[in-house]
Symmetry: C2
Subunit: 219 residues, 2 copies
DNA sequence: TGTACATCAGTGAACGCGCGTTCACTGATGTAC
DNA sequence: TGTACATCAGTGAACGCGCGTTCACTGATGTAC
């Protein structure tokens, strides 16, 4: 049941294609092959067979590690939410001159994540994955969401209590704007903008925070 | 080449399924069948064959009217952008007590469109349609975008010229937030929010506009 | 240390399926005479 | 008004394809003795 350390180490260093009859780390290799395929062709174009082929393995072998195609995508998304949550957490707690700066860093981190982990991002948000059918993914996803809401909560302390909107609400606003910027202006569809997604989002968040009274009305 | 008025009228009143050997209005019937299928199963699940079947016709008949599956989706999207632009235009010019109110109405209209025309919306924004491959769709899409930018331009007049952000920019902000709200909080994925998408977006736009100095800092 | 054995991650062949697309055709419709 | 004909929107059979999934199997690996 327990693999030897050597076996695991060997598996780690053999990222995508197997060497002998046994692969050593096929499960993760399949996840990584899927990532590349999804990033290239979108979650629609992704197929179990291609992922298996890219990992140097027969399609049937996939079923030793996953329940099927859906399960494989779900695992990609799960790992994505995990990375996402960690990245957000890091961006928030590390950019800590002020709660405000930390919050802005969180917004930038969102875009950075979408750029750096396109396969994960697509599996998470564009694959039509039903979170209810994959409770383990839903769990990690809500953990990620909590990081965002915690950041919003921290920021909320700096507002006069009587006109504080709920933290969940403006966390949702920032999330929505970030996601919208990614979908509309960072994808390869024809919709062009004269601004980079990063500049666009930063300006947008700035204006929004000013609206909350957290930034001075003039610069 | 020119159909009789009677034939066209008959075709109009016979929306989805043909009566005789000739359909009369198969082209539009296919578009409408596709709309239902896309709304139900997402753009991924949509197939040319099912659309043909729903219209009461052999798959091969589709090729009398469209170049293929892609062309059919593109036409759905094109009609969507057309409706979208009209709706936005109407919302803007009709909600005209003030430029501000008109702009807010535009935001609400965005959500209303996504709710009322889910098949169109999905074909437009979630089908992975490449606008560059369909110049006619790109044209209507940019027309729709211009409506949004025109609304932003009108609003821009009410700001002191020295600290006016470009209209294209805050049009993009509102569009992004609207789109993000639709994708994250109006779809059947597990992500729940304690607020309705409509309330969420209205509050978000309000805060944003306050940040622009277009609303008083306090309510 | 060497041998027998259990484990189980892989193979490879096969399946049924529905897809998009093509092709020669057919039959309803409108028009010319 | 009636008939011959051109048009062209539909049929239906067929295709090749790649998909996800299953199954009995095989062979590499680690372990017990």
């Amino acid at each position: 049941m327990e693999k030897s350390v050597a076996a695991r180490t060997f598996g780690r260093s053999e990222p995508l294609v197997k060497s002998g009859y046994h692969h050593g780390n096929l499960r993760q290799a399949l996840v990584e092959a899927s990532l590349l395929l999804i990033a290239e062709q979108g979650p629609t174009g992704f197929t179990l067979s291609e992922a298996a082929k890219a990992a140097g393995v027969t399609p049937a072998a996939v079923y030793r590690h996953f329940g099927g195609r859906d399960d494989l995508i779900a695992e990609v998304a799960r790992q994505g939410f995990d990375i996402f949550a960690a990245l957000m957490h890091y961006a928030y707690s590390d950019g800590k001159p002020t709660a405000l700066a930390a919050f802005e860093a969180t917004g930038r981190a969102y875009l950075a994540f979408a750029r750096k982990y396109p396969g994960h991002y697509m599996a998470m948000f564009e694959s039509g994955l039903n979170l209810n059918a994959h409770p383990d993914v839903a769990l990690v996803a809500s953990k990620a969401r909590q990081v965002l809401e915690q950041a919003a909560e921290g920021l909320s302390q700096h507002m006069p209590p009587n006109k504080r909107p709920p933290a969940t609400m403006f966390s949702a606003h920032i999330w929505a704007m970030s996601h919208g910027v990614v979908e509309l202006f960072m994808r390869g569809n024809g919709a062009k903008s004269p601004f980079s997604p990063e500049d666009l989002l930063e300006a947008g968040i700035g204006i929004y925070l000013r609206g909350l009274g957290l930034l001075p009305p003039d610069r």
